[in-house]
Symmetry: C4
Subunit: 282 residues, 4 copies
């Protein structure tokens, strides 16, 4: 049963779902932080301790997911079982699985760094941003060298994946140099969401779940359709982010109003003016 | 009557004119803002409310234009009529029209975001910059994958269009990170103007309105001429911007002098010193 | 007598010399400004008015040089004499001359902008930086499309020219966003110097002034030599900049000491501390 | 005895070791500076003078290493012995050695600049950053033009070297524009470490020290393995940096505690709050 094998629909849909939900979670976290900062005088200190715990929890989850992925890649029946080179046959064993293994490993490193940075106070927290950027760059680099000798359609699909992964890494890298900016963070999460949903699309095209034949890999029209399909996926991520934004804002506003309605009302006008100035600066 | 079809002179000249006028309008707006900021002590508050209304109006116009373009692409006689895949023939329907449809859709999203950001005060206004940058990047991406299997001259013309669209997106993206800088905004609008006038040039080359034969698509000399022609178009945009600058500055100065001549005179020297300091910082 | 024709040794050495001397002059000006700023309390106001006049003079010289280049390209015996298209023969006339004409034109625009920005006080001075960056980008763009159908060695030589021109434009563009930084300005002038000396090298390789045969255009060893030759030219520009730096610093120090020795001595310690703080910030 | 010849295992392992140790030293220095800044009120002034002397010493060592490399490349038995062109045979002499010679020369220039900038106080210290960035860019440029007409595997190995060298130069260039940021400096040193260890890998692949046959240069599987091998090398540099970080931090903390335990204890809480604010800004 090669259900977790990358060469199948499920092998693309599973990591795609994981990445999509990670992206959705990062979007929610980033909007939550933004909303908390707006109301900072009332509840910022409590928020800060909470976010620290959330980051550590996130690190643990990331490590678990990475370990699951790494063992899955190694010990499925068709996997390499930790053997890198077959000396008898004189050839490398299952290099594609080792490629995925390496990607998961770097996301595991990101999890480790998350835990270290938020428990050891002397480490700068921007190290997690650097590791995130590195994990994306490594993923883009590996996918770029992943499709030697395949068909045109397959290469095109993976090139778009490389593009979106590289851009996500680039935005995470740019975040190292800017002060916290909700717009840039949302741009990064939108690219993560796009990456997840595009993995689904790759599964649909190369291994149709309906059991029908795969798409003609040498038809130029397929590539021209997938070009706009990619854009529609991107438009979809905006809608997902919009829904998350509306939900989180409603949650924060209603909860805060219930607990301390008068104080929020008083602070509102003062806050708004300060914010509008901040917005001018962006 | 395929008058709005992209495969004709009018099909290139119409969107070209729209883009050119949008660019001219953005240039005027940006110079107007710059001029208003200079005289801010006298009339800045009034200006701010005015600009907010202008942005909302701009959003509505953008949405209308995008809807017109989208319905036009779909329902011209040769259009796809909202059909994406022809199951009988087993092929995609009119993918080039769907390409243009997708581009218009992203400019429509920009319009929606314009309205949302300037009516809901909790949204940061830089979201419109992000959407603008995205709309240009999507347009560049689609044009890049637009010319599979065409002639050398056709590809070269569209590559230059991709170049200028990509650069416009890049400049809009850079604006996210810098404080408002009139030079960078004018650079972006100059690229939008160039994009509009270059669409006219494409129409002239591929579908000569005089009815004569199209240019020889495999003549290297044509490409070498279009290289410098592109530069001349760019020089033209500087002249257009210079004329708009002179006109707007004259308008602002003369109107302000009529209403409150003494006050402006008093403020002038104090303002100028402050400005010169700001200029030093650029 | 086609002595100013680009297809000759002199046709490369002449513009090369002009660009080299322009680069040397910009280096001297930039170091002079840096040295003046250090002694700003004693003589900055006088310097500022002086620099303004220098910029206007520079603009006039640039326009003269551009006009000379443009008329030279047009009216040499083998030139196009302002004819763009030969309707009889049905072909373009001397497109390479028109290429050079367009490059000169953009440097002429830079001169015009220099004069406008330093006479009309309402224009931001960073417009000259933008025009400089544009002039370099246009030059790189034209050179990139300049060598269709030539030999490997010729293309390689011009590609390196495109590289250095593009980098000069990029650095000038980056200067728009940073506060005045002597290091970045020197980097730009070093690239201009390199461009000038590389034009000499191109002349030597393609049209040996000794009258001997041109280099073998298909020998890989020639390309591998020119690779390191390019680096040596770059090292040379550092030495040129070092010599100019030493000369200008000696000039400023000795002249200032002669006029107001005691005052400079008093300010020196206070200045140095402030400078060292500024240096920390870079 | 061509032991220092680049066309051998030792010829790649020797410079690889040098670069690796330079990277390790820069990592240690950068973490030491970061740790010293944290305790700046107690010992910053002493540190500053110390670091100045260290930089000068580093410059001297760099010059010695560069001179060694340059003479080594020239005067090994198979070297060019300062002859560039063999007029008898009409061909270039040992251009690959001249390539390495040029690279060493630019690292020597970096050493000279290090000494000049830290002895002459009027030179801005960021000049060393610029020279470092230039040295890396020149190295990347030369390696890029180094492998004309070689096998696919050889080219791929050197392309990765170009990639990592170019990135190191880019990060050093970015450092010119940001205020001192420990994360970015560590990123640069990690790339230098990677460059050193990758030179070892190149030696292993092309000239196996076991004396066995070289790897099959046209096997796609070898390239796919080296892709992930490159990532593992990168993961290794993180571990090296982590170990150096732990060691240096332990050293600084224990030494400072021994000398002035009470004062450090008092400052600690005040420091930490300030730091956490600074970290927020990244």
């Amino acid at each position: 049963m090669d259900t977790a094998d990358m060469g199948s629909f499920r092998g693309h849909a599973l990591p795609g779902s994981f990445i999509f939900f990670t992206g959705a979670w990062w979007t929610a976290k980033c909007i939550l932080k933004y909303a908390c900062k707006k109301h900072k005088r009332t509840s910022y200190l409590g928020c800060k301790a909470l976010f620290q715990r959330i980051e550590i929890l996130e690190g643990i989850i990331l490590i678990c997911m990475a370990l699951t992925g790494m063992t899955g890649e190694q010990f499925v029946p068709a996997g390499p079982h930790l053997v890198l080179y077959d000396h008898k046959e004189g050839q490398w064993v299952q290099l594609l699985s080792w490629h995925h293994f390496t990607m998961y490993f770097f996301f595991g490193l990101l999890g480790v760094m998350n835990i270290l940075c938020f428990t050891i106070s002397s480490l700068p927290t921007s190290l997690t941003k650097l590791m995130l950027s590195n994990a994306f760059f490594v993923e883009a680099f590996i996918f770029y060298n992943h499709t030697h000798g395949r068909e045109m359609l397959d290469i095109f699909l993976h090139q778009l994946l490389v593009l979106v992964t590289f851009l996500a890494g680039l935005v995470a890298f740019v975040e190292l140099f800017t002060r916290t900016n909700v717009i840039v963070e949302l741009l990064r999460t939108s690219l993560v969401l796009l990456q997840g949903s595009w993995l689904w699309q790759i599964g649909f095209v190369l291994y149709p779940p309906s059991g029908g034949p795969a798409w003609d890999p040498n038809d130029h029209d397929n590539i021209m359709f997938l070009t706009i399909c990619f854009c529609w996926h991107y438009a979809l991520t905006f809608i997902v982010i919009g829904v998350i934004y509306a939900f989180v804002t409603w949650l924060v506003t209603s909860r805060l109003r219930r607990f301390c309605p008068s104080e929020v009302g008083l602070l509102k006008t003062a806050d708004r003016e300060q914010e509008s100035e901040e917005e001018m600066r962006f």
